[in-house]
Amino acid sequence: MTDSKYFTTTKKGEIFELKAELNSDKKEKKKEAVKKVIASMTVGKDVSALFPDVVNCMQTDNLELKKLVYLYLMNYAKSQPDMAIMAVNTFVKDCEDPNPLIRALAVRTMGCIRVDKITEYLCEPLRKCLKDEDPYVRKTAAVCVAKLHDINAQLVEDQGFLDTLKDLISDSNPMVVANAVAALSEIAESHPNSNLLDLNPQTINKLLTALNECTEWGQIFILDCLANYTPRDDRESQSICERVTPRLSHANSAVVLSAVKVLMKFMEMLPKDLDYYGTLLKKLAPPLVTLLSAEPELQYVALRNINLIVQRRPEILKHEMKVFFVKYNDPIYVKLEKLDIMIRLASQANIAQVLAELKEYATEVDVDFVRKAVRAIGRCAIKVEQSAERCVSTLLDLIQTKVNYVVQEAIVVIKDIFRKYPNKYESVIATLCENLDSLDEPEARAAMIWIVGEYAERIDNADELLESFLEGFHDESTQVQLQLLTAIVKLFLKKPTETQELVQQVLSLATQDSDNPDLRDRGYIYWRLLSTDPVAAKEVVLAEKPLISEETDLIEPTLLEELICHIGTLASVYHKPPSAFVEGSRGVQHKRLPGSAGSVESPDPGAAATETPPAVIPSQGDLLGDLLNLDLTPTTTTGPPPPTTSGMQMGAMDLLSGGLDSLVGLLHQGPPSLSASPSTTTASFGGLDDLFDLGGGVGMPMGALNPPKAVWLPAMKAKGLEISGVFVRRAGVIQMEMTLTNKAMSVMTDFAIQFNRNSFGLAPAGPLQILTPLSPNQSIEPLNNLQVAVKNNIDVFYFSCQYPISMLFVEDGKMERQVFLATWKDIPNDNESQFQIKDCHLNSDAASNKLQSSNIFTIAKRTVEGQDMLYQSMKLTNGIWVLAELRVQAGNPNYTISLKCRAPEVSQCVFQNYEAVLKN
């Protein structure tokens, strides 16, 4: 007899009967009754009234019965919180049971009872289970911490469970490690700044070791956790990659994708000329291709991710076009994704094959797929110039099929082809015109009307054609109406004599009979233009149009970087950042890829070897320590810091912990340089790597070309220590040069310096993404404000100084043309700000050259009506792109500049910088 019999009892009075059975003396009868209760629960009946009776069955030595009762508890405890307390005793007892299965079962269920009142009773049993001798219990308890945290985070913190959980990362059992990692990651996700997953080379090493031993799921938890780590330098990055690549051979697709995520992210830090970089690229292609043999849903996830990978690193799959060819039995969602990737991979080398395939697809029956295939042919034409002619003739063949939606789609893409290659393929217009009557979709009608208007002078009966549309003007969609209005005005400007009546008609339809404000406005503008200044009208309406970009649907670079960090997740499937679809994630930081190779310099290994790490360096300082790569070695051996120091440093940390968290690291200055005399001793600190160049050591002569230093910290305010300094950018490195002068009467030793968290994080080398741009409480201050703390044996001094934002413009800030276009379009107009630069007497080329020297790059230049428009881009060290359009009118000393940026807060600084550079 099977369990299905429990589903059949549906008599009246059932609850009453069950109650009696549950209280029966006979074990077997009790068990049967509980099964019936669970069966009722499963089919959605409310059996919560039996709560006390079921809980009474909890104390049993029958494991199956116990499991059922626990299951019931999980379902109904929330609705009966008071009675749920009855269960506490049994839980506590079960957590001490000699059988580990029961201990684990109790601790697992406990965490699922989301009743606040009982959670605190559960702390002691949980604490014991976390230290249980049996790994099965420990691995279950580890997850329970995450459950409890979800119910009462404060309790979990107060009870010290988080520390115990962290300790489990060093557990001897791989499954315990994996669950501890999963639980910590889960908790950290809701507390982004908790620094819970204190990832450092030691923990990373433990994780990498556990990776070889745990289950496939544990491997995924660990890989996903690793992906949040930012290696200190390219060597560490490479060594992690080397230990992760074997996972690409795992049979589980999810393990493979998580490994791909880690590799794609860490690869950013590898110098491109490194042999290993090339090796890694080659290793990524085969597993990505193999994912396409997985189950269709997994194929779909893989394809959505490949779409991202292809945009970020096209070289990986450029030879793999064939594997994306569509099979007849692929599900539609797989077909559409494959098509998308085919277009992205299309190049001159493979275009013939691609076109043959697309043509095949265009004769399929699935409407969405066919449309996309036709559109793809048009995109190929635009992307691969050599193929344009073949594409156009393929499209014409398809138009001959007379399949309605194929024809319409073809016309839409041909319009784009005309725009990309003006005056090349207009011979096909006649064929297009033959199909005018079959067009019933607004987009296709609008495209056709655009074509007729644009080439009105070559189409003999253009007026008739347009007139035919005019009859049903008010039934058309806005898109078509607007297009028709413009097309007729174009026609009139080209053939004024025959079409006066027509233009009158359309203008009056648009302005008088329409209640669409856009249409009316456009109508009035044309009307006035035509009636006041037909020459101007011609210049406006028939102006040369900008070329359309080659690549469409490119994901904006910042978003793409974020999505790469989310490979394998829903975000990568939706192509949207998690903040767009996860509730309560608004405050959560956007993930960023680590800075690219080249700007990262590894610390001098020699120095590292002799380093005696001063106790005062807080370990979380690696955040910024990584970033700045400060060399913390004392320049001379000074022995352990004097006892007084620690007091000071504690003080400093306390002070800093308020708003001035994230210590950068400390810099110990040996006494010889400063202790020589109480009068004036000057030491100049350069910054190592990104900010400081300590390399030169003490007393490095100042470069003659340096801008003058400003006094940042007057001696009066700092018990005799005066600091003056300046920021410069040399050879791609930001340097902060300081002169420290001792104006006091006593010796100063034990110097150290720290930076407060600042808007730009200043270095692409480190974990930039931790410093999200512009946290709200900083917005009152200039973004380019840097708060610095300098300490010596006397005290800690704080001052702040501003660095010019141009320090942050990196050398590779030149954006690809089409990326620029896509990005400009993609950034909302709200983010655009306009400024005037007055009294500037450079011509546009001189301005462009001058700006280039501060890493503001001109991407394109257009001249309209004697006005030069310069399109420029710059990239800040933290990966923020700023796009600019600079308008320079000959003879007019006032420039207009429009800035667009995802982080509009920087616009003001950038503008000031333009002003400074151009006027300097």
Binding site: T2, D3, Y6, A39, T42, V43, N62, L63, E64, K67, L71, P100, L101, I102, G111, C112, R114, P135, T140, V143, D150, P174, M175, V176, N179, N212, T215, E216, W217, I220, T245, P246, S249, H250, A251, S253, A254, S258, V289, T290, E295, E297, L298, Y300, K327, Y328, I332, Y333, Q353, E360, E364, V365, D366, G568, T569, L570, Y574, P578, F581, E583
Partner: protein, 436 residues
Amino acid sequence: MGTAGGQGEYSPVRLLNRAPTVLNDKVLICRNYKGDVDMAEIDRFLPLLMQHEEEGLLCPVLSHGKVHFMWIKHSNLYLVSTTNKNSNASLVYSFLYKIVEVFTEYFKELEEESIQDNFVVVYELLDELMDFGFPQTTDSKILQEYITQEGAKLEVGKSKVPTTVTNAVSWRSEGIKYKKNEVFIDVIESINVLVNANGSVMSSDIVGSIKLKTMLSGMPELRLGLNDRVLFGLTGRDKGKTVVMEDVKFHQCVRLSRFDSDRTISFIPPDGESELMSYRINTHVKPLIWIESVIEKFSHSRVEIMVKAKGQFKKQSVANNVEVRVPVPSDADSPKFKTSTGQAKYVPEKNMVVWTIKSFPGGKEFLMRAHFGLPSVENNELEGKPPVTVKFEIPYFTVSGIQVRYMKIIEKSGYQALPWVRYITQSGDYQLRTNV
């Protein structure tokens, strides 16, 4: 929706809930793992799915508000996972398929009846398979050691957690004993081919799979040697033909880092049947069975089909159970066939002719002709262009030439064990597009 009735199984997963099945739009069984998604949300799933299906926008991820449904379909059941977080989607789908695998091994068939008949065990399994959205133990052989269908066996004191569950070797238990120690190795290669209507091969590859049936006592260490070109390159040996594997995927048990460093395939095998590895080979394969088809459609009157099949493999080999499936219009009727060998059969529900040849020697060529009537009133529904597909098996032979050079078996008790190897090549996704 296409299939009747809208039954579905909802299974749950990763950050969230539910396992289970729907019966007439009802959930068969479900498990809420995290409690952050309202259980009632699942009621939106089927309507949402149907709406997408009608619009032709079927997608494995559906969302409603802040709730996301990731689903797969198994026979007439839907397994659905719901989440409101940015979950790892690939993990969710792998896990859903794993549930199907585990349930199938437990209950033979995963269907509405088997869920109801075993709902207690199903709940127990759901409890072991995942905790708080984190997949846990999913190896059904190991699960069967402590979760069984006979509840009576589970009396307290007798059941313990098998140490295997949390071991580094989580796929094999200790203390396995066989009288005769043997391991059977099956090397199976599937050929995927896509041929264009004009007869050119658009893409082709080989997907190989090495399956084991392990009947070995204790905890044996195995090492498998293949004629892998990269390995031979590393060791500098060159003994005849080697094979380049484009990509290799291994069972959990294989030490991946070892393979990565010196191409050694070393492992402690799971007991019984398992897939040890799969590989993909990209070389251009000559389609082993070549099909030329001429399908002529005379509207309102008839369809005439001529198919020529040619065995493009060695004369000594024989392809078994060859099936050539040729598409016909859905409104075709009164079939007539003529074949030079084998049998042709009309399968109207699939709109195809299936031509079966039990034994097809290499180098031979066979012919099939079919004639169908068409109604005078034309079906105005546009039909797709399904390709001709072919199925076959050729034993004792691998297209790639891959060979098992050795299988070393070492167990501390020092027993002698025998490895046996079998090779077979079969059709995979084997499609030839047609003109009609």
